[in-house]
Amino acid sequence: MSVELILTVVVLTNLRLLGASRLGACIRTVGLQGLLLGLLPLATGGRLTTLHVVVLAVGSMVLKGFVFPRLLFWALREAHVTREVEPFIGYTGSLLIGGFMLGGAVWLGDRLVIGGTTDLSWVVAVAMFSILTGLFLIVARKRAIHQVLGFLVMENGIYIFGIGAIPGIPLLVELGLLLDIFVAVFVMGIAVYHINREFDHMETDKLDVLRG
């Protein structure tokens, strides 16, 4: 599979996330995105398929494609919710903003030229778009699960940038990153569970006791 194809599908999954209201669908979409990104290091041109690359690809696919969705579905079941409540910004509005973000990301991709490499503008653009989408989801949605998903999408964006633009980041660093994301999602999942038990809901805009 070519890099361009993978990246294009990633853009589509991002747009789907912006427009979807059912949490289950969102979790599956993020899982799909994770699977695709696992293929990315295998597809990156000009790079020999070393053990390093295979370990990374398999690890990332298993984690992002299977472990995270299962964990989040578990939290969802415990919380008895299926839908986003009234989001701060509606779905049509979100998609419109998504369009603008994509435009901005493409513009940025054209501007940032990395020395000594072939044309990477699409990689940088998709990376930036994913980061922006993730941040937007964190800010504009109320459900705690949705914020975890936003965090994951953002991390995916950074991962695309790392794999695409700077090959040769040592394996140890990449594995550390993967482990950190794993623990982050794990801890967040536990937190969602506890929040739901204590508060009988998981809407983060109602977490407002502490202020000032």
């Binding site: 940032l112 990395i114 020395g115 000594g116 490499t117 980061i131 941040l135 964190i138 705690a144 914020q147 965090f151 953002m154 991390e155 950074i158 940038f161 790392g162 633009a165 700077i166 090959p167 040769g168 980041i169 040592p170 140890l172 660093v173 550390g176 990153l177 482990l179 950190d180 623990v183 982050a184 801890v187 967040m188 536990i190 937190a191 506890h194 929040i195 204590e198 508060f199 983060t204 977490l207 407002d208 006791v209 502490l210 000032g212």
Partner: protein, 505 residues
Amino acid sequence: MNSYLVIWLLLIVPVAAACLAVLQKSARVALRIALVGVGIELCLGLAIAKRVFSSGAATAGAEWLRLDALGAYNLVVMLVVYFLSSVYALFYFGREIDAGKLVANRARMFAGLWCGALGAMTLVFVSNNLGIMWVGIEATTLLTAPLISVHVTRESLEAMWKYILICSVGVAFAFMGTLLVAAGARSMGIESEHILFWTELCRNASVLDPAFVKAGFVFLLVGYGTKAGLAPMHNWLPDAHSQAPTPVSAIFSGFMLNAALYCVMRYVPVVESVPGLKGWSSSLLILLGIVSILVAAVFILSQHDLKRLLAYHSVEHMGIITLGLGLGGLGTFAALFHTLNHSLCKTVAFFTAGRLGQACGTHNMSRLSGSMRLSIVWGGGLFCSILVLIGIAPFAIFMSEFQILKAAADNQAMVVAALFLVGCGIVFVGALGHAMPLAWGDPGDARLALPARRAEAAIVFLPLAALLVLGLWMPASFKHALAAAADVIKQAGAVQADSMFSIAR
């Protein structure tokens, strides 16, 4: 013992202690194991630091691990704070166990994560690879997040959620920054394994791509700045500090924030040596520092909760350290000196505040008034530590703040100096207004006197005494260590920094 062996041991001991502590049945034994682990770590840290200061940086693991003067200095400060907090935690949680407020498995979890977080922070200081350093910082976030809700309540869960989400996103920004710096280094032909090595980046800084380094540093500053609690990214900090159990608050304030700032310190010499960027990073640091000081000053005025008050003090002091770092020269030296002063003092402040809060069941300052009558150790210690925090002469915090002021004057950055003084002035008046009734106010209902053990009195008053001594007289060896650490950041004279602030230029 070989120094590389010591570096490896520094990483292994906390992990081993964490595993041992989790396996214990008794909560008390788990807490004691944590204390012993931290004690061993402290001895190791002191030994290696002594060697680093006398004979230069120590490396291990094919240069992946490297401890230089800056790292060693921060490591020692951290270990001292950690050791004090571990002693305090033993007494603090001991009382809760007696009162049946803490069940054994929560205590075990605390002990395990406590040692784990120590290991993660140690990793930050000993790693030469900036990617691994980032992994260490993110690991501290994840390991300390459950510590906030050792007692599961609504407030602590809310604080934990804010902490983990805001800091994870912030620290993800820092990773993006790390990648951008690496992208800026791609064209210079470093072997890809070594592209993130701090030593390599420093050596080759003059050929880095300025555009990428610039973008990267902005991401890094926002990212690590979030973790360090610099305004305006500080929102998580007061909540987390006020809701966490006190030993955890002490570590958060006393050292976790500094660990994030340390990461920024690592990048400063790299960015400063990139052609065309001299002075650029300094001006950003100065701006962020001043904003933090002023924001904290405003919030300190209107606090009712004692631990939140102390948390905003942390924002202020992180701002002061950042300001010193940005001013360079004497400012860098003073910033590092301030790191030690703030860590020691803030730890003591949290110790006393936490004990009073534990006894009275609240951290509301109006209900804690007259604490001096309750206990001279806790009430008096709290009053003294607040005085030291706001910069009463001749304690060490006064000296380091004075040096930073002098650094600003040396750079003829008069507006910066004026804003710094205004911020410190507001904090001084505001905090003193809180501290007076807290110490001498009318306690209202008669309460029991609070006894304090000898060891508890020692961990309150010894650090304060140390701060007094350091304010009056700085031992030559300590001065040498500080200067060596500041030399690593070596920005001496790098400050045409603030064209946007200086009027007398």
